[in-house]
Amino acid sequence: MKYIDKIGWLNRTQGQSKGRFFDGASHTVLFTITLISASVLVAVAAFLILGSLQAFNVIGPVEMLFGDTWRPTSFHNPAFGMLPLMAGTFLVSFLASIIAIPIGLGCTIYLAEIAHPRIRAFLKPAIELLAGIPSVVYGLFAMLILQGWVAQLFGLQHGYVALNGGLILAVMMVPIMVSLAEDAISAVPLELREASYALGATRWETMRSVVLPAAMSGILAAIILSIMRAVGETMAVLMAFNQTPLPTLDPFSGVQTMTATIAIEMGEAAVGGLHYSALFAVGVMLFMITLVMNTVANRIMLRYSEAYR
């Protein structure tokens, strides 16, 4: 230290110490902000778990998770089995996924590899714009128009069935998937494509054997994130079909999703009562599902960053 002090040009100048103050201050401020955001996660988890303790204690975790009847408002014989709700969420998300994944991947490949750059420059923002439309608008469309189409197509009395929800969720999933997956494919370096073309590969062979494998983890992450969107969606689902908590996987039946259950029933449940607490338990389950899917997506993304450089 003494040695350094002797050398004048190594000393701090006035301006620099001012800069150092701001460096330090901004560090503290930004750290605090980040800490607050992160602690919200802990707070939400604690809030849900604390709220759900009563239900888990009184009803028992096994009955809550695997009971096949959700009848919270019955005076004589209330039941709080979450199975119908989980089945509803699963059914609707599954229907949405099997519709949205092929369509989304098709759009992605077209946009990323086949479309003329000028067409892409127009289409991609247009599709991304779809991701920004409020879900209530999609719900309205499902309720007023899509429902009629579903009824007509499958000869039903009305179209307020799980399939209707699956369809509208699929419409909502595609833009997210396309946007993220297209980014992953575009991020594959041009040099890799050139290497493949220079070996006499066709565009399709290059796509299938070089570009898609290199972008695969990013594409998988895009799919998982869009499924999360379907699992977490409340409003559009609520408007798309009759909310009937049946433990069924029939796409032509009404079902009730976990998200919709909380939204519908929270208003009528007595604060502090068993029903109220059971809804918190549903929230805990949703939180767990999201957490698991998020972790899986992150793992995959991490692998993706190592796929090429």
Binding site: R193, A195, A198, L199, G200, A201, V210, P213, A214, A307
Partner: protein, 250 residues
């Protein structure tokens, strides 16, 4: 016969002319170096030979490039067949994010070789040819990214040789490599020239002088001078060439 006859070659990008009336005949076998300052069209020229410029939508090519008496830009030519006969190695090593084995087996496979034994043979032969076999034979299933830069570039050479091209194009293959890796690639080039027609773009004049039999000097999209390497460097006919090789321009 794998000489390359270039006739009246003109190339435009976005309407801007990148190559102007290039006429030259690159003889069979041996090494031909293309030199010139940045932006002189040397990369564009070499990428015209295997029609890599085709993948750039704004690019327009006029003129003829004849190999074996056939015009590569002819109406009935299948571009994948062109690239199968004319291999290419790029500036930066660009192995696929696959195993060493799969990097080599990729091209033979898409061209119809499915037999595992045959593929094994091709992989070994190509890696030997590119002087990489001894360094990687125990880890063929490891990622190509585990290799050093110079090894990766030799892997890319092996990959190009796996489909038995007659012509191999090198677009500044050593510009991202250290001197030792560069020397290895240069040795390899000299070994390859008995079997293949080698065309190499280089910004390094010493490299051209070291390895090339013929050298072509490009300037502002035109071929200025083309001749025997020793003669071009010692007694250039054109003043522009002389200015460039003596360092007064570039």
């Amino acid at each position: 016969m794998s000489s390359i006859e270039v006739k009246h070659l003109n190339v435009w990008f976005d309407g801007k002319q990148a190559l102007r009336e290039v006429n030259m005949t690159i003889p069979e076998k041996g090494i031909t170096a293309i030199i010139g300052p940045s932006g002189c069209g040397k990369s564009t020229f070499i990428r015209s030979i295997n029609r890599m410029n085709d993948i750039i939508p704004s690019c327009r090519v006029e003129g003829r490039i004849m190999v074996d008496g056939k015009d590569l830009y002819g109406p009935e030519v299948d571009v994948t067949q062109v690239r199968k006969r004319i291999g290419m190695v790029f500036q930066r090593p660009n192995p696929f994010p696959k195993s060493i084995y799969e990097n080599i087996a990729y091209a033979p496979r898409i061209h119809g070789t499915k037999d595992r034994k045959k593929l094994n043979e091709i992989v070994e032969r190509s890696l030997r040819r590119a002087a990489l076999w001894d360094e990687v034979k125990d880890r063929l299933d490891r990622s190509a990214y585990d290799l050093s830069g110079g090894q990766q570039q030799r892997l890319c050479i092996a990959r190009a040789l796996a489909i038995c091209p007659e012509i191999v194009l090198f677009d500044e293959p050593c510009s991202a490599l250290d001197p030792i890796a560069t020397a290895k690639i240069e040795d390899l080039l000299v070994e390859l020239k008995d079997e293949y027609t080698v065309v190499i773009v280089t910004h390094n004049m010493q490299q051209a002088a070291r390895v090339a039999d013929q050298t072509a000097f490009f300037y502002l999209g035109e071929l200025i001078e083309f001749g025997d390497t020793a003669q071009l460097f010692e007694r250039p006919e054109n003043e522009l060439t002389e200015n460039y090789i003596t360092g007064r321009m570039g």
